[in-house]
Symmetry: C2
Subunit: 319 residues, 2 copies
């Protein structure tokens, strides 16, 4: 079997990592995806973190070296004995034996903390919603799903802010794709805009379908020195969104059998599922990289992804 | 720091692995030794083993691939996140972060199960007491320290016998040193003979001190095609034993600072500690290999140990 393709989905707590990943897992098929949360690699349980006054965002609170080790093993198609952190009670459970499937999706706080660690991912996504929106999401999730009060969550956010600044946000510069979901002109929480930064290190698909032939509904693309910035409006017409998605699907014609309607759904807190066109377009763009990298590896081009990445400018890790 | 030296102490349950290792840990200093039990790598807890009707001696009951992975990391001086099996209640605990110290001593049931795994050790010791003696030791230990009745232990020994035969005993052929403690002519349990098989794959010390100049008290050495067999009597005179040990210590003159009286002590069950001259000689022989391999690696001869082993005849793994 060709080696697994490793996708990183990195971002601060409650930036939408699971929402983004969920659609990808569903479309690729659970049987083809190994889904790992880096929180499993915490060194301290909840009680110890309180005693040491350390937040989970701090590298010293995570076995960073073991994460690198395990990523190396997974990348070579080897199994790992993965630690298990239980969010329910904040303790550690029995380790899990994990064999990498075709695709390995890794969500975490500190995946790109060092350039060495960062280099172990084939595709690096970083989630960067505006802080105000993230705080709102975190309150919704942690009060509905993790049993905290709103006051506790807000206090925790303040406690964590110095580590977010020092360790989380600087990682943005190492990503191939930066995703910022943000309120659009109508400030509609179900229809957020997606601002995507696509760095030239990855061979992105042809985006000419973004520009509408009649000049209407064109997605603004801002060209930078080594990246492009796309602004996908949250209120984009569904047919227009579908046409853009279709144009990307056409560039992964060998994977057309995966084409379903499962992209773009999301839920916040315990709300029922919604659908977002900007989320769907973002997911299909990431999916493009997953299947293209897999195809390249399958036909013997193991270096396809990493070679392109090596050619990327060496972005300093400053925030 | 030079890479750690890895000693394997392999043998069936209750063959004296911990007794042999204990003196080595004490003389090298706890601060210089990482001591690992391979039982931590069981896949199934006690309840699951009963359900699956599988014994811990079966390779399928152990994460053999992860053991190899972790040995590779330790050998390169890298840390591991080691699973933890709790003999007390037969369940798994929180994993432990382990950084290899100067010496890594690994006790286990299946360390030489494959040639690939076996090759990861610098020094391979296999313990092979007569089965009758081993059963006696297992009953003593498991009834005094692990809360079983004698009947339970005897039944378990019978259940395990097919796996001992199929998986444990064949490993003997892969060892550099086979140690068989066994009753001597006086059948004194405190003064067991040590029959040592020293395979030519390792550069053993000069053993001429074993032959006494006056022809009395000579240790019989049987020369084979690619090994020597030493029979150290359990009732060997203490001064004579000390002289043999001294002759080996002289060949590790760079490690004379380690010389103490801590070798040769043992306990069975909850008995107080005894001293065995044949155990002390066995331990000092193994110590010789540990410090010599370490010295060789320290002066840049990283291949010293493994090169010698490569030159060893390829012993088939049949029992």
């Amino acid at each position: 079997m060709a080696r697994p393709i490793i996708l990183g989905v990195v971002g601060d707590s409650a930036t939408g990592k699971t929402t983004l990943t969920k659609g990808l897992v569903e479309i690729l098929g659970r049987e083809n995806v190994t889904h790992i949360g880096m929180d499993d690699y915490h060194c301290f349980d909840r009680t110890e973190r309180a005693e040491h006054a350390i937040t989970p965002l701090h590298p010293d609170c995570n076995y960073m070296d073991v994460i690198g080790q395990h990523l190396g093993h997974l990348r070579r198609g080897e199994p790992i004995l993965k630690p298990v952190y239980q969010h329910g009670d904040g303790t550690f459970g029995r380790p899990a034996y994990v064999k990498p499937k075709s695709f390995v999706l890794i969500e975490g706080l500190l995946g790109y903390h060092t350039s060495e660690l960062s280099a172990l991912f084939d595709i690096r996504v970083y989630l960067a919603p505006p802080e105000e929106l993230r705080r709102e999401w975190k309150v919704k999730r942690d009060t509905t799903k993790r049993g905290y009060t709103e006051q506790q969550v807000l206090k925790e956010l303040d406690t964590r802010e110095p580590d977010s600044e020092a360790f989380i946000r600087p990682q943005r510069s190492r990503a191939d794709i930066v995703v910022s979901f943000q309120p659009g002109v109508h400030d509609d929480p179900d229809h957020l805009d997606a601002v995507l930064t696509l760095r030239d290190g990855l061979p992105h698909p042809d985006l000419s379908a973004m520009a509408d032939e009649e000049g209407r509904d064109a997605i603004p693309i801002e060209q930078g020195a080594s990246e492009r910035k796309l602004h996908i409006p949250g209120d984009i017409d569904r047919d227009r969104g579908a046409a853009i998605e279709e144009a990307i699907w056409e560039q992964m014609h060998f994977a057309r059998h995966l084409r379903t309607e499962r992209l773009g759904t999301f839920a916040v807190g315990t709300d029922e599922a919604h659908r977002s066109e900007s989320l769907a377009i973002t997911q299909v763009l990431i999916l493009y990289h997953l299947v293209t990298a897999k195809a390249a590896v399958a036909v013997g081009g193991d270096d396809h992804v990493s070679r392109k990445q090596d050619a990327a400018p060496n972005v300093p890790s400053a925030a």
